[in-house]
Assembly symmetry: C2
Homo-oligomer: 263 residues x 2
């Protein structure tokens, strides 16, 4: 293992250690430090910040990839970060947690379901500057070229500046067939999924359901959102918080009445 003074970079994802997206990310980060990747042993899309509480977890070393140590875990992306921190890295602290490149967008509300962003939030919970990279293309053989200069630039800047405590970055890159010319710091777009299930009938006449759906952008004309950027071939960078507490000054005033003894 490399023991020089280059930054230690921890990589994970939710598409599993065999996904091309994570190989691209590792390849791109190698010049910036010592890279260790701890990834799920298979696809864990939509795992959010799920943790495995009722089953044993295994960490298995894989062959090195481009000089990076690689491990797989039979758990979620959050499990991967926790096991990396407690077991694999044996007390060494990474200077950066980078997750992805996700096969598919994590813009708008997708950030809360994303396993890739789950790994990023967990890195953030450990106090490590953490960034998720996603390409808006679900294909296994997606072309990740549009992502590469932005991985370079953002990783360099985050390694140089760090990130404020409790804040991480959700970076989405449009699959526009070329390297985007622009990048914007924006907020998560308001929107919902609709028509979320396809209904089937099994051979015994029982219904079953498979998650699908259509994203509905509730503010398509607002330029300060990630969805607007992506639909205009612009890379979106959303500063995102681990803590979800509402600032108490913004809470509705009747809530304070709960503190009074009931009449």
């Amino acid at each position: 293992m490399n023991t020089d003074n280059r930054p230690l970079i921890l990589v994970s994802n939710d598409d599993g250690y065999e996904a091309p997206g994570v190989h691209e990310l590792i390849r791109r980060l190698i010049p910036y430090g010592e890279v260790v990747a701890v990834c799920p042993d298979g696809p864990r899309s939509g795992q959010s910040m799920a943790i495995t509480v009722n089953e044993p977890l295994h960490v298995s070393e894989l062959p090195d990839f481009m000089g990076a140590k690689m491990y797989k875990v039979n758990g979620t992306p959050v499990d991967c970060i926790k096991l990396a921190m407690h077991v694999v890295l044996r007390g060494r602290r990474p200077s950066l947690v980078a997750a992805g490149i996700n096969h598919g967008s994590n813009a708008a509300i997708n950030v809360v379901y994303s396993g890739t962003m789950g790994a990023v939030f967990e890195g953030c919970a450990f106090g490590i500057p953490s960034v998720g990279f996603s390409l808006t293309d679900h294909a296994h053989d997606a072309d990740f070229t549009p992502c590469l200069p932005f991985i370079d630039r953002i990783s360099r800047e985050v390694l140089a500046h760090g990130l404020p405590e409790g804040m991480c970055l959700n970076v989405n890159i449009p699959n526009c067939g070329h390297v985007p010319e622009k990048m914007r710091v924006v907020r998560a777009c308001k929107g919902n999924w609709s028509d979320e299930y396809k209904e089937y009938t099994d051979p015994h006449g029982r219904k079953f359901y498979w998650l699908t759906g259509k994203f509905e952008n509730l503010e398509p004309n607002n330029r300060d959102t990630d969805e607007w950027c992506l639909s205009h071939d612009i890379v979106s960078v959303v500063p995102t918080l681990l803590d979800r507490t509402m600032p108490l000054a913004e809470a509705p005033s009747w809530l304070a009445l709960l503190e009074e003894p009931e009449e």
Copy 2:
């Protein structure tokens, strides 16, 4: 099915439809409306906002409980809310999503891992006033009596006032052996889990790991946190946001430089 004009209340949890906590919650909500419960078919603790994307989901009707319709789903708490909204309720909108009573605390950082709060966030994503109730006792046979007056009071108030868009409530009740005298609106405490894995060796000499850990309160003397309340026999109510975007005005200034063309 009851078709009068009482409010429709959707109940879920992460401990599964057989957990005593959800039965207590249903029993307590029956006086306030028509209750429909859609719960996982077994324990789903720590599932956060995970969704099931690569497997079919089944919804099975169970015998009514105390006059409430009950269904089980072979998925996560978020799956339960989505299937309730798209399939079980057939277009009817609940006035309240209530999740719990969770067997165990969801205070501090636990809110982000909690499957119970996952159901609450999903209710919030549908624009429905949503509240999670948790008792700080993991026991299957925990005494839920301390929770009951607070479920009454908060549910009544939320049914009367609603909640602002994108905001939900994380309510934790201390297991102090009596009904707490006070309730406070506070923020999630800063803290981390440490020593998170117990290490084992299998019969073949391979190591494996099981999640455990110890919560470390990083601000034990701050009275405006949920952990302080719980350790002082006070019920905590944390107004919590679905959207995790950092207010852009608070983002570090160097981030804006990412928007400039690279030199």
